[in-house]
């Protein structure tokens, strides 16, 4: 399942702009297989755009992006066969039932895991016949996690995984991400939640204004900065005002 010769993710000098707004301005990082890596920063820092380039949903203006050695802009379908994603601001039709959603998404992949086992793993067995519109926020998020893992992907990407979840659902979700690491999968966590990043990630790239302002193990970054938490590092390394895109391009960025 692992490809030892290519890292899971290689991003080198990535640039992406939307009109006059520079979303990503020379981002570079490498994620070896098996690592839980965080892309952290405030809203508009360039995290989601970077993720979208990794998934082949956007084409970089300049720079290189490789996922398992593949170019997502040209080999998008191949990349997406090996990558599972939970995306921000993505819902399902309200009348679609949990079991139907899984069977539907399973048809997109040549090989999938057992749907019953997946439902059991994410605590959704008794929600199988429940419509998406009737699920709680936590249940919806678990369904999206299950959908992201249907094809047993080698790399799993989560964009604002626990936004909107209550503390208990948040802790549960974190434990589930840790179980993915234990299975040897590479995990990319995109988040503005520094506590989440500190708790889950082996290493993080901190983005601000489309640039990497810090890269390393959370504990090392905290120690180097002589502060108490990754949140303190974030507050010290990123400036106010520089991170919010103009309102006119915000739609496009998301």
């Amino acid at each position: 399942m692992l490809t030892p010769d290519a890292p899971a993710i290689e991003v080198a000098d990535l640039h992406k702009r939307y009109g006059a707004f520079v979303a990503v301005d020379g981002v570079s990082f490498t994620v070896p297989t098996g690592e839980v890596f965080g892309l952290v920063g405030s809203n508009g820092a360039g995290k989601t755009t970077t993720l979208e380039c990794l998934l082949g949903l956007r084409e970089p203006d300049a720079g290189t992006v490789r996922v398992f050695g593949l170019d997502p802009a040209r080999q998008g379908a191949e990349v997406r066969l090996r990558v599972g994603a939970q995306l921000q601001a993505a819902q399902l039709p309200p009348r679609l039932r949990v079991g139907e959603a899984l069977v539907w998404f399973a048809s997109f992949y040549p090989h999938t895991v057992d749907v019953d086992e997946l439902l059991a793993r994410w605590g959704l067995t008794d929600k199988r016949s429940t419509a998406f519109g009737d699920l709680s926020g936590g249940q919806r998020q678990r369904l999206f996690l299950a959908l992201a893992l249907l094809h047993s992907p080698e790399l799993v990407c989560f964009d604002e995984l626990t936004t909107g979840l209550d503390p208990r659902a948040r802790r549960d979700t974190w434990r589930q991400v840790e179980s993915l690491r234990d299975e040897g999968r590479t995990v990319l966590v995109v988040t503005h939640d520094m506590e989440e990043a500190e708790r889950l990630c082996d290493r993080v790239a901190m983005l601000d204004g489309g640039r990497v302002v810090a890269l390393g193990r959370p504990a090392d970054l905290v120690e180097e900065a002589g502060v108490r938490s990754l949140e303190d590092v974030f507050l010290a390394r990123t400036g106010p005002g520089s991170t919010t895109p103009p309102a006119s391009v915000e739609m496009e960025v998301r």
């Binding site: 998934l55 949903l57 379908a77 191949e78 997406r80 066969l81 990558v83 994603a85 995306l87 601001a89 993505a90 819902q91 399902l92 039709p93 009348r95 679609l96 139907e100 069977v103 539907w104 998404f105 399973a106 048809s107 997109f108 992949y109 999206f144 959908l147």
Partner: protein, 246 residues
Amino acid sequence: MNTTALWRTTATELKLFLREPAGVFFTLAFPILLLMLNGEGGNRPMAEYGGEGKMNVLVPGLLALVMATMSVMGLPEGLARYREWGVLRRLRATPVGPGVVLGAQVVVASAVSVAGALLLVGVALAGFGLDLPASPVAVATTFALGTVALLSLAFLLASLPLPARSTQALASIVFFPMIFVSGATWPRDQLPDIARTIGDFVPLTYAVDGLGQAWTAGTWDLGALAVLAGTAVASAVAATRLFRWE
């Protein structure tokens, strides 16, 4: 496109359609209701239709109504909601991509239109003395081309960068005048002059005319078919340029 994915997506879309009572009513039951309301006297020849049987004139129009309902009233709102909800965005992160939903919606809309048409014709034949079409091939061809033209038009409405509620409102603004001025619900030559003039610019009018001529005279209305084909191509080209998945 991956056929397993298309088949499964189509099955999913069909289930979702059947769970929407309003959609099922307007596509399958509403044309039959209109038929029944105007069914008095069955298929007796009418002087105002040039001596043609009443049903022979009404049914081709109602067939056009069926195709318009499923495409213009169904597809734009459905796609716009999928865009707004981020369903299309989520599908972009899969190997097959969101195009599979578009394909499935076209298959479902076409299949439901055919089912609605057969149901309508069945009721009109069994209960209201409708004559069999003079040229079933010409009727089927005109129906198929009309459906393609209206689906393209629906796709064009769906591709405008509007919130789903506005798309729905726009579809209604197009749909309701269209079904009246085209002659789909009531013969055009009994409409006021202004409505007839507007009707000349509505593609659905040509579906009504083409179906009517095929049903009663058994001949091909090549002008109407050309307009429908032109509508299909022009709308599809414009929609493809305008459409955004997110």
